[in-house]
């Protein structure tokens, strides 16, 4: 049995980490989980909590209840996180839906609290859609159904993702004895969150859904409504496995204690992102027929730091459906990352359904399930679908042919005093991302005031200069730019003209080959990166405008023989040949 409220000190992985010297930014430490949230409640948040009793009263009255059931503290088996001062009825509030009450709480938190914990509320539209995806994966009939097993949200916040599931379950259980339905709920639904105030609100809004059911229980047999959410660590191993895990986990980098690093070593690579940990723990918590549905950034499908997470997910529960949330759907006001609703299933499936959600849901494609640590190739648009399928079947890549990419070392604002407009004896020419526009290396006039860098540090001669030919690729393209891949060649001659060495700025990737057998010459590689087909492949690897060195290295390529023939091709002949290589012949 899981106790209603966990003793924080007994939670695994919550060793006290020495207090950091500077205030934590978004890269919060996991020890924050244990912060008593009450101490940082803003007056707005207290205002929201204070209005809850009267909101409850309104809900209970409407359900036809009276007496003690109108008092939330008596009707619900959960303690409020702070003493509640009685407030007068607020007619604005009585009309709020359960989702709106939860949203009001998240909005009332201070901006710093929200960003430090990576907390963000779940729009009702996405909550409903996520539940629809779960139903599809479990192949539940379109009619209302009772829950087939435990539904768990390990980062439940104010309960938004659990509401659609609870509503459906209660509707479907109408014919059952109401007191039994209520009694069985804790076995079917569990929310966990670190914030005691959010947990209490989740308990209140979930319990409000149960009021009509409670009203049907004969007066003498009524029990306080069960609390379905509890304060705890959503990453802790669960006491029982879940059929369904839904989550909108916190985003943002975290600092882990050594013990936790060990625990998550199999899914970590470099820094830890909170949402990745939640996804790993989420699939681990599933039972043999379980389904995980998560609202997460898409970076886990391609980033280097998520490589281990990808293979862990592939092994435990493969991604069977992904819905990209389009910008114009307007569900998120402030999140800049590309977001998706991803479904993972324990049962074996062959394909991943890809959809996009704008004003309506559109099917894009269905591709073979990808399970490896390599970036997953997922088309964002159906005109990319065929190319993506061909690319994901390829075994060779830039890196398998010996090409490696690195990011330009110069971060200009760290070295601003060393940047000059004129050349000098110990100054090297700086290549800026803008110099690559148009695919030919040139000198962008806007950067002329910072054209040369003085090599002042002893290490500069080693670290900051590039003295061999390379293919330079922009790291970030603007969303309005038509191409993701913008590359230009730094050839021997150009290098000589620039003084035999250059310094590459941070927004440029440097692509070089270390292999003896180049397969493709530097010139041909530059031309290849300029083709339309390769640009489409890149778009299927990452939905963001950024092109990381890792993603560049991972671009799938056809076999050595095919690629070698591209050396001799240019222009439309090359376009045709590359397009043909990434074309499926329909078998």
């Amino acid at each position: 049995m899981v106790p209603d409220v966990l003793d924080i000190a007994t939670l695994p992985g919550l060793e006290v980490v020495p207090a950091p010297a500077r205030p934590l930014g978004s890269r919060g430490s996991r020890s924050d989980v244990a912060d008593p949230a009450a101490s940082e409640l803003t007056s707005d948040a207290r205002g929201v909590l204070a209005r809850i009793p009267s909101w409850w009263r309104g809900q209970a009255l409407a359900a036809g209840l009276d007496g003690r059931w109108l008092d939330v503290e008596q009707a619900l088996a959960a303690e409020p996180p702070v003493a509640l001062a009685p407030t007068p009825e607020d007619p604005e509030w009585s009309a709020l839906s359960a989702e709106q009450v939860g949203a009001a709480y998240v909005e009332s938190l201070s901006a710093s609290t929200r960003s430090r914990h990576g907390r963000h509320y779940t729009p009702a539209l996405l909550a409903a859609h996520l539940w629809k995806l779960v139903r599809q994966s479990l192949e539940l009939s379109p009619r209302t159904r009772v829950l087939p097993g435990l539904v768990c949200d390990p980062a439940c916040g104010a309960g938004a993702l659990l509401l659609p599931a609870l509503r459906e379950h209660l509707h479907a259980s109408y014919a059952e004895a109401p007191e039994l339905v209520l009694e069985k709920l804790p076995a079917l639904m569990e929310g966990i969150d670190a914030d005691p105030a959010a947990v209490w609100i989740a308990n209140v809004v979930l319990a409000a859904e149960m009021l009509p059911t409670l009203a049907r229980v004969p007066t003498d047999r009524r029990q306080p409504l069960p609390a379905l959410a509890r304060v705890g660590d959503g990453l802790a191993p669960p006491s029982r496995r879940a059929r369904i895990v839904v989550m909108n986990p916190p985003y943002g980098r975290v600092r882990l204690s050594p013990a936790e690093r060990d625990r998550y070593a199999h899914v970590l690579y470099g820094h830890a992102n909170m949402y990745g940990l939640f996804m790993a723990a989420g699939v681990d918590a599933l039972d043999d027929h379980g389904v995980l549905a998560a609202l997460v950034p898409t970076s886990f499908t391609s980033g280097r730091y998520s490589a281990n997470l990808r293979s862990h997910l592939g092994e435990k529960a493969a991604m069977t459906a992904v819905t990209f949330v389009e910008d114009r759907s307007g569900v998120f006001g402030s999140v800049l990352q590309e977001t998706c609703l991803a479904t993972f299933e324990r049962r074996k499936r062959r394909k991943t359904r890809i959809m996009s959600l704008g004003s309506t849901e559109t099917a894009i494609a269905s591709v073979k399930i990808q399970k490896s640590a390599e970036p997953w190739v997922l088309p964002r648009r159906s005109d990319d679908a065929a190319i993506a399928a061909a690319a994901s079947a390829m075994t060779e890549s830039m890196s398998s042919f010996g090409w490696s990419a690195s990011t330009g070392p110069l971060v200009w604002n760290r070295r601003s005093e060393d940047l000059h407009a004129s050349p000098g004896p110990n100054r090297s020419f700086v290549v800026w991302a803008a110099d690559l526009d148009g695919g030919v290396l040139h000198r962008d006039a806007a950067r002329d005031s910072m054209r040369y860098m003085a090599l002042t540090k002893p290490s500069d001669g080693k670290v900051m200069v590039l003295d061999r030919p390379a293919v330079l690729v922009q790291r970030t393209t603007a969303p309005e730019q038509s191409r993701r891949l913008v590359a230009a060649l730094l050839c021997e001659t150009a290098l000589k003209e620039l003084g035999g060495r250059v310094t590459v700025e941070n927004h440029v990737n440097v692509l070089r080959s270390t292999a003896k057998d180049l397969v493709l010459s530097y010139e041909a590689m530059t031309r290849l990166l300029a083709t339309k087909a390769l640009d489409q492949v890149m778009r299927c690897i990452s939905g963001s405008v950024a092109v990381s060195a890792y993603e560049l290295e991972s671009i799938p390529l056809p076999s050595r023989d095919v690629v070698a023939t591209w050396n001799a091709l240019e222009g439309s002949a090359l376009e045709t040949a590359v397009a043909a290589a990434y074309r499926l012949n329909g078998s």
Partner: protein, 364 residues
């Protein structure tokens, strides 16, 4: 007429346009190949700006009823006679085969129609390969399907392999581009709006319903009957034939503490009279073909209402017909449940009541 294409060649080309590795198999199945061949055969092809009534629209059964003999006869006259026969009924198709002097052996069983309509056609339509004629009621069996012209062009048998592959790629690029799809969707919306039934709700907003008789009845109920019958009418939900449910004012639903479960039994219209005290709910069935508030239906609706937190003694029922002369009205008048009302859209000033003179508990 367009040059016909064989079923196997159509299926082969579909596999190249919608490779199995990237798209759902229903888009390129043998059945899908037959569908392309059949639609080209009867020239059910819709140009970009073609007026809807100039197109030869087809039905899923146009595909189901084809036979080997139909595909063998490639002259224009035979193709036209099959088109005419298929637009009328399976009996006519059978007769046509007899006239040709061959036994009628359709390629597919009648029940494959659902797969074709619900999966293949839907998928094609999402990708812009198939057009649906706007303004046809969902429940109507009138022909409404045609291949998009550019898509049909990919099945020109004279197209050489290399040229075909190029054209297929080109088509994918131009038709599956989200921008192009958005544009097409807007154009379709505009076309649909021309045929739609627009209902003015009491709160001043408008709802667009599909063109059908039941939409016309719903329009009458909301615009004429409700203002006359209720103190302050509010529309809570309208459900259209098919799957669409229009939820009313969400704020009002929240204030009334009603939680509508859209997955199960739903009346055509749910209204509330918030001018009455206590608030009275009206559950309305709009009957264009069938489905009045019969004793059995009333019971089901009351159970449904209870689940939405609406108490039985607050519910009133109305069956709305198009006219006293309408076939459905004449057939179903005898089925009205006791304690319910009936209303006719063409005589909006009158209402019919059916109640027991000596009420019993059942008449609540």
């Amino acid at each position: 007429m367009r040059k016909p294409i064989s079923r196997s060649e159509a299926a082969r080309r579909l596999l190249i346009i919608f490779p199995r590795a990237a798209f759902d198999a229903v888009l390129s199945s043998p059945l899908a190949g037959t569908a392309v061949a059949a639609l080209v055969h009867v020239e059910a092809v819709c140009g970009k700006d073609a007026p809807a009534d100039a197109v030869h629209w087809a039905r899923p059964s146009t595909v189901m009823w084809t036979s080997d003999e139909v595909f063998i006869r490639m002259d224009d006259d035979s193709r036209r006679s099959y088109r005419d026969a298929a637009s009328r009924g399976s009996k006519q198709v059978d007769e046509l085969h007899q006239a040709w002097g061959v036994p009628y052996q359709p390629v597919y069983k009648e029940n494959s129609r659902e797969t074709l309509r619900d999966e293949t056609f839907r998928g094609w339509r999402e990708h812009g390969a198939l057009q649906m004629r706007p303004g046809i009621p969902t429940s109507s069996s009138a022909p409404r399907w045609a291949l998009s012209e550019e898509f049909a062009d990919l099945f020109d048998p004279d197209l050489e392999e290399e040229a075909f592959r190029k054209a297929a790629e080109q088509w994918r690029e131009t038709h599956m581009d989200p921008g192009a799809r958005l544009k097409a969707a807007f154009a379709l919306d505009a076309e649909t709006a021309k045929h739609a039934v627009i209902v003015d709700l009491p709160d001043g907003t408008k709802r667009t319903l599909e063109n059908s008789n039941s939409s016309l009845i719903i329009k009458g109920v909301v615009e004429s009957w409700a203002p006359a019958r209720m103190g302050k009418p509010v529309v809570l939900a309208i459900s259209e034939p098919g799957v669409k449910v229009h939820m009313g004012d969400e704020r009002m639903l929240q204030i009334l503490k009603i939680k509508i479960d859209v997955n199960n039994v739903l009346p055509d219209v749910l209204m509330a009279d918030i001018g009455a005290d206590p608030v009275q709910f009206w559950i309305v069935e709009a009957v264009a073909t069938d489905g009045p508030v019969s004793a059995e239906r009333k019971k089901a609706l009351l159970a449904w209402a209870a689940r939405q937190n609406i108490k039985a003694d607050r519910c009133s029922f109305l069956t709305a017909f198009l006219s006293r002369n309408a076939d459905a009205a004449r057939r179903r008048l005898k089925d009205l449940a006791s304690g319910t009302w009936a209303w006719y859209a063409d005589e909006p000033g009158h209402e019919l009541a059916w109640y027991s003179l000596t009420p019993s508990a059942d008449d609540l």
